[in-house]
Subunit: 134 residues, 2 copies
DNA sequence: ATACATGTAACTTTTGTAGTTGCATTGGTC
DNA sequence: GACCAATGCAACTACAAAAGTTACATGTAT
């Protein structure tokens, strides 16, 4: 796992969970399977919990579980939960004093924003349960 | 300049050049203007030269010049010359032994590749001369 | 009480990129 | 020919973002 590893990890994990929705998984199980560290798993899945895609329970027999039916979790849900913005950048234009810079920024940002939207749109058309039979 | 700084630098510079196509600019001039280093400028513009967008001349009175009319250089030309792939990744899937991993990879990569294409398409609709009057 | 899980903060390691330095090469100018 | 000013390029350093790691507090079933 290298680039977009957060997204990879999240999708990978959710895909597995979509297969056996009732099974509870610990961060360690997931980390072992994904070849990473439990803390990293908790960091990533924590985002998904905040977004309402997963639930977690502490203590003995605790762990992670899907918060909804797998059919109701789209790839876009995951993408957005992680605050990924593969295309557009969130940066505020610092000092667009010059008009050329300003025009350029405006035009390019516009295109990127459109593309970002259509990416989310495309991702929303697939659920994590569908992905297994691609 | 932070993220996508290569692309920013390239577009910024070309936009200026589109304004005064006949003027020769040195790496130092450009670097001063963009708040960076001449060597960085040469690295980035070198890519554009390889792609046939710019020419450079050594020696006294040398420097950079547009290789084509500004109307004939699109944002996509620049994007592709820099080998930017904002959306899709070029990585070879390492060991897609597992079927779930495989399916996931296939589906997601597919979407990303589509989006990458439509980004290039959108960028190809604007030339560096148009961008000034946006 | 104990064992096992998450939650989180702080630190270290890794990695990609910009920035820098130094020098060879080329081509005008005197 | 001597000199100056430009690119070309390689090697190194500096920096920042992300992953990975360690340590510990908190919660919960048995
Ligand atoms: S400073 Fe305005 S475009 Fe260069
Ligand atoms: S998807 Fe997890 S190992 Fe195959």
């Amino acid at each position: 796992m290298k680039r977009n590893s957060r997204l990879s990890l999240a999708l990978h994990t959710l895909s597995h969970m979509a297969g056996e929705p009732d099974r509870v998984r610990t961060s360690s199980d997931i980390a072992d399977h994904a070849g990473t560290n439990p803390v990293v798993v908790r960091r990533v899945l924590g985002r998904l919990r905040e977004a309402g895609l997963l639930t977690s329970e502490k203590g003995h027999a605790g762990g992670w579980r899907l918060a909804r039916k797998p059919q109701e979790i789209s790839l876009a849900d995951v993408y957005l939960a992680l605050d990924e913005r593969l295309v557009a950048s969130d940066e505020i234009s610092e000092a667009p004093a010059c008009s050329v810079e300003h025009a350029l920024q405006k035009r390019v940002s516009g295109v990127l924003e459109e593309i970002e939207q259509s990416l989310v749109q495309k991702l929303s058309e697939t659920s994590i349960s569908e992905v297994r039979d691609a």
